[in-house]
């Protein structure tokens, strides 16, 4: 028999309780959004590094060049 995965706990004021269904849905949404943002940030950093590599510049040299 499958057992339900326990929901994350929250501190609501002075009460510790399980997340409501709505809170859990928002929590999952937030995690997905954070992961997408992190991936986008990593992609931007990789693109930037690729350009620097093509130009043969370090990050400090690029920063100095761009002022």
């Amino acid at each position: 028999m499958a057992t339900a995965t326990p929901k994350p706990m929250v501190l609501d004021g002075h009460e510790v309780r399980e997340m409501t269904d709505a809170e859990l849905a928002q929590h999952e949404l937030d995690k997905a959004e954070a992961a997408a943002q992190a991936a986008a940030q990593a992609s931007r950093a990789a693109s930037r590094q690729a350009v620097l590599d093509k130009l043969g510049l370090t990050a400090d040299e690029a920063a100095a060049l761009l002022g």
Binding site: G13, V16, H27, K31, A34
Partner: protein
């Protein structure tokens, strides 16, 4: 009336023979009165000092020390600039919401100190305003964090018209702390969050990040609370203070 309370502040004349009771009153230091009524009755009568500037008194009813400035009695001490409102510790939770009505008409601005000591996994920390027991998830949050990681890399973070404030995160056994001033969450003005964040950890490594944080809720909604949200369970504590309005 306590053992030190007096009902008169005597004055003695030349050649007068003093009793032990007279000396006990004289040696009592700042005279102690049960109430301001007995204080007022203790001066100016026959055989009593005339009330004058510089006189001190302790009032049992209010546990206050007062001085007379020549025109009125004033309380000794100053109103504190910060007044503790609430605080709590938490263990293995994924969100921490301040109690309902933490923000009220009593104060306009608030200081929040949030400290997470550990997390069950690397966790991103975000925050939202809250009202009547529910976080506000509308896309009215805008923020800009100017920061740097301890290896010198850029830790800047920003969001415009998004559904929460992002504050980077916590890396398992390294802490996350935020000292935030929350301005005008209850007024008709837009609420802002200003402060410093000490975040330890990003998605792959345990790096310290220093962030100067500025956030805006771009709507005049009134809030009575604030929530910190984590993508994994966190343990720690928080304290909230109200800035005195005068």
């Amino acid at each position: 009336m306590g053992a030190n309370a007096v009902t008169t502040v005597p004055v003695y004349t030349a050649g007068e023979v003093l009793t032990a009771a007279d000396m006990n009153i004289t040696n009592s230091g700042i005279p102690v009165f049960a109430t301001t009524v007995t204080r007022d009755a203790a001066f100016g009568g026959t055989g009593e000092k005339t009330l004058a500037e510089g006189q001190f008194a302790y009032i049992e009813a209010t546990n206050t020390t007062q001085y007379y400035d020549g025109a009125a009695w004033q309380s000794v001490g100053v109103t504190p600039g910060l007044v503790f409102i609430t605080g709590a510790t938490f263990s293995a939770v994924t969100s921490v919401s301040l109690p309902t009505s933490t923000f009220s008409a009593t104060y306009t601005n608030y200081l929040v100190q949030f400290y997470a000591t550990t997390a069950t996994a690397q966790a991103d920390i975000t925050a939202r305003f809250r009202a009547a027991g529910a976080d506000n998830t509308t896309s009215n949050y805008s923020y800009a964090s100017n920061g740097v990681y301890s290896n010198g890399n850029d830790a800047n973070l920003s969001g415009n018209a998004v559904s929460s404030f992002a504050m980077r995160g916590i890396y398992t056994n390294l802490p996350f702390s935020a000292t935030l001033t929350i301005s005008e969450p209850q007024t008709a003005n837009e609420a802002t969050v200003t402060g410093m964040v000490n975040a330890n950890g990003n998605t792959t490594t345990a790096l310290t990040a220093s962030l100067a944080f500025a956030g805006l809720f771009n709507d005049s909604t009134s809030f009575d609370s604030f929530s910190f949200l984590a993508s994994a369970a966190i343990t720690g504590n928080y304290k909230v203070y109200g800035y005195s309005n005068s």
